[in-house]
Every structure is written in structure tokens, then in C-alpha cells.
Symmetry: C4
Subunit: 232 residues, 4 copies
């Protein structure tokens, strides 16, 4: 069942320690099959060096039921499901506690566009959500985490594939993309962008974001209809 | 004698350079056998790449006598013994000078709970001890180091397995767990948590700790009786 | 065609991930053949681990036409061409988003000469360009990026081989040298110099550049007519 | 001639890139034979991966003449010679531009004893020299660099083996030890101590050095006549 998607999701999960985005069992990647309305996700708490294709858990998109797999899915499964249901254009999601992005999330600050490295991938500030309320934390915490991400994007009118990631306040980043591999790619970029942004602030605390036109130029030469980066 | 424990303690010691927690001969890990009231610990000043199972030193818990082994035990042995005698629920201890945790110890500051990465492992601030007095430094220094850790936990009403580590003022961290391997795991986490906390403060110096409920939620989903992280 | 130059340029490109100056497909290196008035450059958006000698693209120096190669050249090709046309003494150019140099570019600050590590390679501040105007960004952006670098060097009377690199405001460094290999060498040095400079400022924000004589001494003992560093 | 010393000095030089203390050809290690009054040192500007035993250059201690070797000795040779002549108890010297120690040198600040990691190896602040005068820079620069190190130690009454290193103002560290291998060991420690010190200051800018008794305790348990660290 979904053999190819499981392999993609496994490979994307194994990329997390390779890119030094996670320690131990931290982090998880999922991918979605939109036609069958199924999500494949890493099992909870299993070390990366022991993960096998058949450990990947298949979960139904509409109600979160496990339809295949002997292991429990990631405890963050409800967050992934909310995002897939709402952001219909995304195909893969990754959650890590990568150090630099996490420090922005802990500081409760979105990462402003301070340069073209950011602009090449994120078409604006990487937003930080509001804090969850007491009720949300005590209630369906993982679902609420998904909801506050959706709320953040709706309130600001952001498109998920133009800003393929978010910082959850006091927690860490969730990042996505057109598939699992692309989501991990964006998570690596976010960590690098966060690192450079921190260093930039150390040198100049009063810095403003770059000019909107420079942001347009860089994002659109890679992602717009007239993109001219890469091969045809 | 205690062959399995020696192998566990050796493996845990070899993890220290692998996780980049130590340089040269810095750091040491021990494990305890509660039934036989014996501790196994790294010998003093031996390079990690030359450590063998039979180099591990067996020390009696009640009086610190070496009961097996040709080498001298770690100079921090008396500190380990105080901790095992007082914290009856712990099974392994590690001492490192890992850079980020050590910089908090040198700054004389406990690491506040700034995010869920911390909350997943430490159920509150990682405390920093008071400075040792002149008399304590001149006297049985390594025993006093253990005592000031115990005092810190008693005065604040902390449980050793809920806060599995401490910063010794002006010195470096001691970290523990249910066994030697788990202690090293927690030492890796502490170093990562300390690094993220430093970066967070660079972005926002006036930050408050996260909400108590978010701390509860994360610590208890991993460690409480109703934990739902990982496999059953 | 230009087989040796292609091999040099390929090798120099492969050095970028090896020296941890780039992630993914970021960055590009070119080399020039002055007699034939041809430039060899990395193709756009191709991962380093898949690059082959024949993927290198040969571009005509005077009009930018591709004269050999099946792939599109780097999107930064026009910037490289402007630099080769104006700085006749350089033989190789590299562009990266290496984290420390990029953070100075994002902060909009040149890197002052804070020590002899800098003075050994850069005979003065590594300048940061002005911001591009709206018109320049909307227009021939990559050409304008080259022009603003040239303008910066002309206005300040800088010699390209005495200051073999620049920070493009809000973007990242361009670095050059007598050939492609030397350009990458200088890019590694710039990243190290930028890192040390940031750390230096953390310790002393009011620091002045080093004495001009110390700059002279170090730069000239390596690069002057009476250089006495290295072998004859 | 001096085959064993050459092998020791070669091995110590090869440790520099292994411990990530140097890039390219930066840095150099020497060792001394006191009976024969000869120094063995790395040749100038030769990449580490091409160094062979017979490339090591033998230099006479009293007048700096090369007595064996086809290559030119390190350009820092005169500095090494001054140190060996004055500090009769040292047997090896290393010079690097390691990033963290160099940033303290560039900031013109000695590294205060902020914790026991420092106290285990350096019996007090690692001093920073004064700036060299115009005359000293223009004159015999490398000799003057040695002289200002000696002056720093004399003026402050420091013993070279109690404080086995120094920061040269605006330049970088020189570190020494009882032999070449021990000098590199101390250089690794200095880099780590400098890194932790910088992080400590980021957390607490008004920090005072640790208590003299704690410094005594740690330095002397490793280095005093009653040392009890390591094996007998």
C-alpha cells in the first residue's frame, strides 16, 4: 500500500539527521496521497537508524485513523492532518527542533526578510504564531497547534507555497513543500536563513527588511511563471 | 564482575566524544548496581580511544573503596557517589564540560524553560548551584560538589528524574538518568537546550519562561503516567 | 574546447560544498580564458554531486552568448561577465551565500580590518556595495549587480587583486582571484575572516581597525614584491 | 638528524587541521632539542596534506641559521626562537589563527578565568599583549612579536608552563607546552576555553573571574606536586 510514498517519506525522514536538523528521535516527516486521501508519516519515537519502509504509518486524512502499520504514528500526527486538510496545495510536511529556527520560535519573533537567501525561498517574513491559550494547550493540543498555524496564514493572507513554513510560538518550526523531499529541502533552508538572520542582528539590531522589489526579483526568478533559475 | 554494567558504562563513555560533548580525556560516565551497592566509572585521565571494558573501575557505593580495577577512578568519583547515595532513583551519571551548558554554568545562571525542546526533557529550569565557599573548595572539594547539587535540589523541592541535570556554578554540568546510556542522552539534550537558549536570549533578552501548562503538556506527554509519545 | 579550464572550474565548484560554503545548488564558480575571450561557468541549479566536466557552460565574454554546453549557465552569469570585462587582472570568480559573510552583507556593513588574518589576504576593508535602486532591481538585475560592484571599487580606488572580494548589500559575497581555485581559496578565507570579525565585535563593539602599518606588514609579506611567506 | 623530533613535529603539525585549528597552510608547530640547541619547525606555506618528515626544517637556536632542510622555515620562525631562548622550560610551540582565540586577540582582551575548564589548564588569565609600536612593526616584526610576548610575561610575573599561551594583540594566539604534542593539546584547550568564555559573556557581561581558591584547586589537582588527576 502506497509503497512509493512510504519510500519517499522514509528517505525524507533519514535526511533529517543527515542535514543535522534533529537529534535522536526528534522531528518527523510526512507525505500525502491526495487521490486516496491518505497520509504516510514516521512512527513515534523510533530512532532514525532503525527506521524501515514498513515502519511508516498510513493514516486516513479525514479522520486520522491508522489504516496500515504496526506502530503508533508520530505524536504530532494531528498537526500534520490539519495542515494537509487546509493547505490543499502542499504534499509533504516536516517538523524539527533545528536550533536556529527554534530560537526564533522561542523568542516569539517571525524571521524578517533580511536578504536574498531568504527571498529565494520565502516570499515574505516567516511568521511566528501567537501563543496558544490555556484552553488550547489543555485541550486537543496537537490539533490546536495545526489550527493556530492555519489562523496565522489566514489572518495575514499568506499562501502556503509562497511561505512554506512557520514558527510555532515557544515551540519550533513546521515546514512544508510540494512533497516530502521538498519539505525537508525547505527546512534546511529555513535553518540556514534563521542562522544568518541571527548573525545579521548581532551586527545591526535596527535593521529593516529588504526592499519589496528585491524580494520580488529573487523569489520570482526562482518560483514565478517567468522563473529563469535552473534548467527548463 | 559486573560485566554487563561495565560494558554499558564503557559504551556510554565512548558516546561522549561521538556526540562532541568532550575533548581529550574530559568528562566521565558512571553506572550503578543498586543490589550489589557498586558503582562502575571511567578511570581518570585515560583517552577515550584507548578505553577497554576492563579499564572500568568498580567502586563501593557506601565508602568509595575501589573493589576491582587496576586504574584510579575518575577524580570526580566522590561527586558521583554523593549523587547515587542521595538520589536513589538514578542509575547513571555523566559529567562533561560541553561548551553551551558550561557557559551557562560559568555565567552562574540556571537555564529557564524557554520552549518545548526543554520541556520535553526537563520539568522546569535547569538549576545552577550556588558558589562553593572557601572552606568547601579547600576541603573535600569533590564531595562538596555533590553536596551542593543535593542542597540545590532539596531547597527547591526538585525531583532528580524530573530535572535530570544541574549546572555547577563556575564549573560545568552534571547530568543523570535511569542508566548510563540515558544519562548521556540527557547530556546531549542539555547541551542542545543550552545552545538554543543562548541564541534565544540574543534575539530577546527580556524573555519569560513558557506557560506552565505548555511545560506540563510537553513533559507529561513524554514522561507522565499518560504519556503518549513513542511506542507502547 | 577549453578542457583544462572546464576541469579547473568543475574542481573549484566541487570545493564549495567540501568547504561548507554552500547548501544544495547554491553558489557558482567560473574561470576565464583571456586569449580566447571565453568564460566557463557552472550550469544553473544542478546539484554538485551530479556535476560533470561537460556540464560546464562556455560563454563568450563580450556578448554573453553560450558557445558550448547543453545546459543553461548560472543565473548569475551576467554578473560574472561584468566583473571579468572590468577587472582584467582576475581569472576566477565565486559567488556563495556562506553564512558569516552573508550576514555582514545583510547588515549592510563592510568588514573592517580587525586583525592580521584579514590583513594576510585583504589589503583593507572588504567593502559592502550600496543598495541597488528600484530601477536597477527591476531592470537588468544581474548586470546591475556587477555594475554596483565595479562602482564600489572605482569610487574607493580599490584594486581587485588587493581586495579580492566584495559584499553585495542585502545579498551575499562575490569573491575572485587569479584563477578559479584561488577564488575559492579567497572565499573560504573571507568566510573565516567574517566569522572572526563577528565574534570580535561581540567582545568589543567599539573596536577600531588595526594600524595601517600592521596591515601593510602582513599583506606585503605575503603579496608584495618583497614577499617572504611560502617557498621561492 | 633529529629524526624523532622531526616525526613529533610533523605529527603535531598534522594535528592542527585534524582539530580544526587551521585552514589551508595557516599555523605552524615547532619542537626543540635543548642539548643540541636546535629547533625543528614546519616549512613556510606548504599544505598539511603534502608535509613529509624530511620537509621539517632544522634551525639553530642561537642564531636562527637553517642547518638542515631544503625548504624555507615558517615565516614565524624568529618568534619561536625568541620564545625558546627566553622560556627555557618549554619544548614545543604552536601558532594558529583559531577563530575564537583570535577574536579575543583582535578585541585586545585577555581571557579571564571564568570557570574550571580554564583553571584546569591555565593558572590565571590568558594575557593579551600590548599593541606593537610603529617601529616594532616596521623593524624585525617577527622578533618583536616574540619580544612583546616575553615582555608581557615578565611584567606580570607569569610562568610559561603555568600559563602556556598568549594572545598577540590584533593577531592571534601563540601556545606552548613541554613538547610539540603538548603545545597542540594546549592550543585545542585554549580555543575551547575562548569559545566558552565568549558564550559566557553573551549571557552575563559583568562577570568576574572565579574565586582564586577554585582556580588553585583545579589547576593544582592536575598540575601541582600533589596532583591527583590521571594515573600515577
Amino acid at each position: 500500500m502506497l509503497k512509493q510514498l512510504k519510500e519517499e517519506v522514509l528517505a525524507a525522514n533519514l535526511d533529517l539527521p543527515r542535514y543535522q536538523l534533529v537529534a535522536f528521535t526528534w522531528g518527523n516527516v510526512s507525505g500525502v496521497n491526495r487521490e486516496q486521501e491518505l497520509m504516510v508519516i514516521k512512527p513515534s519515537g523510533v530512532p532514525y537508524n532503525k527506521l524501515k519502509v514498513n515502519d511508516m504509518v498510513v493514516v486516513r486524512l479525514n479522520d486520522g485513523e491508522v489504516v496500515e502499520g504496526d506502530l503508533r504514528p508520530s505524536s504530532d500526527t494531528p498537526t500534520h492532518l490539519v495542515l494537509y486538510r487546509t493547505f490543499s496545495e502542499i504534499g509533504g510536511i516536516v517538523h524539527t527542533h533545528s536550533a536556529n529556527a527554534t530560537s526564533w520560535a522561542q523568542a516569539g519573533k517571525g524571521i524578517p526578510v533580511l536578504g536574498t537567501t531568504h527571498a529565494d525561498y520565502f516570499y515574505g517574513e516567516v511568521p511566528c504564531t501567537r501563543e496558544l491559550s490555556e484552553k488550547e494547550i489543555i485541550g486537543n493540543y496537537e490539533i490546536e497547534t495545526g489550527q493556530v498555524i492555519v489562523e496565522t496564514f489566514k489572518n495575514r493572507g499568506l499562501k502556503p507555497l509562497s511561505i512554506p513554513g512557520v514558527l510555532v510560538h515557544g515551540h519550533a518550526p513546521f515546514v512544508w513543500g510540494k512533497d516530502a523531499d521538498n519539505a525537508v529541502h525547505n527546512a534546511v533552508v529555513l535553518e540556514e536563513v534563521a542562522k544568518i538572520a541571527t548573525h545579521t542582528y548581532l551586527l545591526n539590531k535596527d535593521l529593516k527588511p529588504i526592499d519589496q522589489r528585491l524580494l520580488d526579483r529573487h523569489f520570482l526568478r526562482k518560483h514565478g511563471v517567468n522563473a529563469y533559475y535552473g534548467q527548463k
